[in-house]
């Protein structure tokens, strides 16, 4: 089994297990306010880190290339309250143009 399948199957099982735990245990166990607060902040941290590494890094080195141009355009599209698909498409278009002509 290659590493991609390992990641895919592991993710599938773990993410489902997390859902099942939530549906199966009494609410009091993990409803401490601090716990909930931290849990709610985790997506903000991880998603932001993913934006950073996917747009400015190749493996372990940092680089500025066509991708960040696209992401900046997507950022302003979202800021202008564009729907998510529109923002993604504008980001992709920009990046493709920079890739093609720069």
């Amino acid at each position: 089994m290659n590493s991609k399948w390992f990641a895919v199957i592991g993710t599938g099982l773990l993410v489902y297990l997390l859902k099942l735990i939530g549906a199966s245990i009494p609410e009091e166990i993990v409803s401490h306010p601090r716990f909930v607060r931290i849990a709610n902040l985790i997506p903000a941290a991880l998603l932001s880190a993913l934006v950073a590494t996917q747009s400015l890094a190749i493996k372990t080195h940092l680089t500025i290339d066509h991708r960040i141009g696209g992401v900046i355009v997507a950022f302003f599209a979202l800021l202008a309250k564009a729907p998510l698909p529109v923002a993604i498409i504008l980001g992709a278009l920009t990046s493709a143009l920079i890739y093609r002509f720069a």
């Binding site: 990641a7 895919v8 773990l14 609410e27 903000a44 941290a45 400015l56 696209g70 998510l84 890739y99």
Partner: protein, 231 residues
Amino acid sequence: MSVASVRRDSLGLSLIVGSYGIAFGASATADHFSPWQACFLSLIAFSGASQFATIGVVAAGGSPINAIIAAGLLGFRNTLYGLRVAPIMKANKWKKLLVAHLTIDESTGIALAQENEKESRLGFWITGFGVFVFWNIATLFGALGAKALGNPAAWGLDAAVPSAFLGLLWFRIKDSRSRFVAVSAFIVALLLTPITGSGIPIISTSVLAVIFGWRENNKAVGNTLESADNE
């Protein structure tokens, strides 16, 4: 709200959110995952942010374990949703397996927005099933479509992936504390990238959530943010 409006809202939301599966399928292909792998994730994991995280971490050169941890950290919010949704759904042992699978941002959001439990259950089932069906169909089309296009960079697909992350992030940074965490995580991840192995910078940033979420009113964060908000 009436039963009819619950139906309408749930179906509308399912269609919109489900269609984002195209972006996931295309991103998975851009990150060199096969359409089978993309579909497997949409069928079994069925949680957008976690799925994107797995392909993102692996594409960044991270180990599968790193990818699974990142997906788990993002998927943990579904555990919290389950705590709130399960009592409303009044599911028996077997039904619970299904309720758990369909517990995602949208089904939970719709369920908790209703005025009575009957409408909550209806909204949960329609939204859960609806997103599941549309998301999976869209994943397949996105993956096959992107495969047919060829070089991901030429079509901007390599920028579509971080743009999609940005979009997912966007809806989770409505308050100043989460915005502060997001900006710090962005910087920390970049600073760690040349130092640690790939994938590590991403999961390390969950420490920031612990630091800034520890206190109810974090003074240091509050002051910095006030000046930022005034800009």
